[in-house]
């Protein structure tokens, strides 16, 4: 499989510079320090947030961070579309019998995410110990689906913006802002925010579907949600649908691609 082969080659290439490799993993861990700090504060200082226990909140942060780690690891290329266009790489991708989107994925594997994965593992371990959930096979399956959904949702948003970046280089700033926004608000139960803010995070920039709604389903707190329980349960499916829609948008924008330099 090309993706795995590419990751293997990337790791092999990175290992040739051992100090750099270790540094990249360390950066991945340090990069998530805000999430770790947040989790530590939640666990040690507060009994919970907005009626949710510290464990519930930590589970929200864990699902969000896991999704982000996979999205950044495999799809970091979407945030480089401006540079890929300027360097003529998109031109080169169009000359190969493989979808351009997949080649954008294959262009670069974000090594620091191995460090991010270590943080995710520690957070999940802590959250699972703290939450009061009977881990039936269905719930374990739903948790996995939630992480996949969180990944696809972040990828969907970056895909929509990345498609714009094929012709507008400044969109990269919007991509960075979106990631910051998801990192800032995606770790919380969003009902602690004013109504206008959570409405934005449900209907405009649907961060609520990333981890908040799925964890509400897992912890049985759907009655306090601003959407019907069925919608919350369908979060991973909705994220997958948004991802497919984003892919459609990518294809439309790719047809309008104008290349650079003549």
């Amino acid at each position: 499989m090309l993706t795995l082969r590419f990751i293997k080659l990337s790791i092999k290439a990175a290992l040739e510079y051992r100090t750099d490799f270790i540094f990249m993993i360390a950066v991945g861990i340090i990069w998530q320090v805000t999430v770790v700090a947040f989790a530590t504060v939640v666990i040690t200082r507060f009994p919970g947030l907005g009626g949710w226990s510290a464990g519930d909140v930590l589970l929200v942060a864990s699902v969000r961070l896991a999704g982000h780690t996979f999205a950044s690891g495999f799809f970091i290329g979407l945030r480089q579309v401006s540079e890929l266009t300027a360097d003529g790489k998109i031109d080169a991708f169009l000359l190969r019998p493989l979808p351009v989107y997949r080649q954008v994925m294959l262009n670069y594997f974000h090594m620091p995410e191995f460090g991010g994965l270590a943080v995710v593992a520690v957070m999940f371990a802590a959250a699972v110990r703290m939450v009061d959930i009977d881990w039936t096979p269905w719930r374990i399956g739903y948790l996995v689906a939630s992480v996949v959904g969180a990944t696809l949702l972040e990828v969907a948003l970056q895909t929509v913006l990345g498609a714009f970046a094929l012709r507008r280089p400044t969109v990269k700033l919007w991509q960075e802002w979106t990631e910051e926004l998801m990192a800032a608000f995606g770790n919380y139960p969003l009902h602690i925010l004013p109504n206008l803010a959570w409405a934005v995070f449900v209907f405009v920039l649907p961060i609520a579907f990333c981890a908040y709604f799925p964890v509400a389903v897992l912890t049985g707190q759907t009655s306090s949600l601003p959407v019907p329980a069925g919608v919350a349960v369908a979060s991973p499916l909705i994220s997958a649908t948004l991802f497919l829609a984003a892919l459609g948008w990518w294809r439309i924008e790719l047809r309008r691609y104008e290349s650079v330099g003549g």
Binding site: L2, L9, A13, G88, L95, L106, R256, S259, G261, G262
Partner: protein, 329 residues
């Protein structure tokens, strides 16, 4: 398959850009009510290339050469007209087209920046689904022609320009495409590397019968490789024909380069001549004037060096553009 390898019919490409108004207020106005303008990069370009032919696509910067190649390669969608490469419409059958073409854009690489070049080759082997035995044979052949093995374990960022382009040429031909697009493949190279790439291109046309479209600003390269040239200017074709015919039609001028022992043009020599280094260059289009000049020079003892030749290709191209501009004005 019968018919030409490449066919362009009334190809047109228009780019829409935002017009920035001058000044701060103008910039704000552009933000609120952006003004759009169309730039025609390629206008009604028609030509065909037979299988096994090399066509030199020439023109000044911004003439539309690269845009034309990108439409033929399936990178850009034409605004109007039709392109067919090996019978397929490139942008509609992009993946099929990709298997039939190889392309090198001299100033950019299609190799993975952080992987050794040889690993990029194996990635391309998998992407193009090349069988292992065929891959090994082709890589051996390409190594024989381009001497890649001494540096293919390096990453592109650690290579010289010449090494990087040679790897790019190999990468473009690994899947054995019958059609190749080369957009300024020798730009910025030293003479030795240029010569190696030229020989490689010649081999691909003469020995492997590949169809090649080559763009270059190096007229020595054109003279060495091409029999047919397509000149474009401001998006339009201004000449399509043989190189020899082009020289015959537009290159009737002469140049005589003389070095005098005194360093100055002695009295009695017709024309002032242009001082170029130690020498003086006399030029014109009238053959009688040339004969008169030569007679007066050959009888002199103070002529230390004498060289005569016709217009070079750059002069000829300039003459074509001037003549066509005068016609369309």
């Amino acid at each position: 398959m019968d018919g030409p390898a490449i066919e362009a019919r009334r190809l047109r490409k228009v780019f829409t850009t935002s017009v920035r108004r001058p000044g701060f207020v103008g910039a704000l106005r552009s933000l609120v009510a952006p003004e759009r303008a169309d730039t025609v990069a390629v206008e009604e370009v028609s030509f065909s290339v037979a299988r096994g032919e090399l066509l030199a696509l020439l023109g000044p910067n911004g003439a539309g050469k690269s845009t034309t190649i990108k439409m033929l390669a399936g990178v850009l969608v034409p605004s109007d007209g039709e392109a067919r490469v090996a019978g397929q419409v490139p942008h509609l059958d992009r993946k099929v087209n990709a298997r039939r073409i190889g392309a090198v854009f001299g100033q950019r690489t299609q190799l993975w920046w952080d992987l050794p070049a040889v690993e990029s080759f194996t990635m391309l082997r998998d992407i193009f689904k090349i069988e292992q035995e065929a891959y090994r044979t082709r890589l051996e052949e390409l190594d024989g022609l381009l001497e890649l093995a001494s540096f293919w374990q390096r990453r592109p960022r650690q290579m010289s320009l010449g090494q990087r382009v040679r790897c790019d040429l190999a990468a473009a031909l690994l899947h054995d495409p019958p059609i190749i697009f080369l957009d300024e493949p020798t730009i910025g190279m030293d003479a030795v590397a240029k010569e190696q790439v030229r020989e490689f291109i010649r081999y691909q046309v003469e020995q492997r019968s590949r169809t090649v479209i080559l763009t270059t600003h190096d007229m020595a390269e054109v003279a060495r490789l091409a029999r047919r040239v397509l000149l474009v200017n401001e998006g339009r074709v201004v000449y399509d024909g043989g190189l020899a015919e082009l020289q015959k039609e537009y290159g009737s001028g002469w140049k005589v380069r003389v070095t005098f022992a005194t360093g100055e043009v002695p009295p009695g020599i017709p024309g002032p001549g242009e001082k170029v280094g130690d020498a003086h260059v006399f030029a014109g289009v009238d053959p009688t004037a040339k004969r008169e000049l030569m007679r007066s020079l050959l009888d002199r003892d103070d002529v230390t060096d004498l060289e005569t030749h016709g217009d070079d290709l750059e002069d000829i191209m300039a003459a074509v553009y001037r003549k066509r501009a005068a016609v369309t004005a």
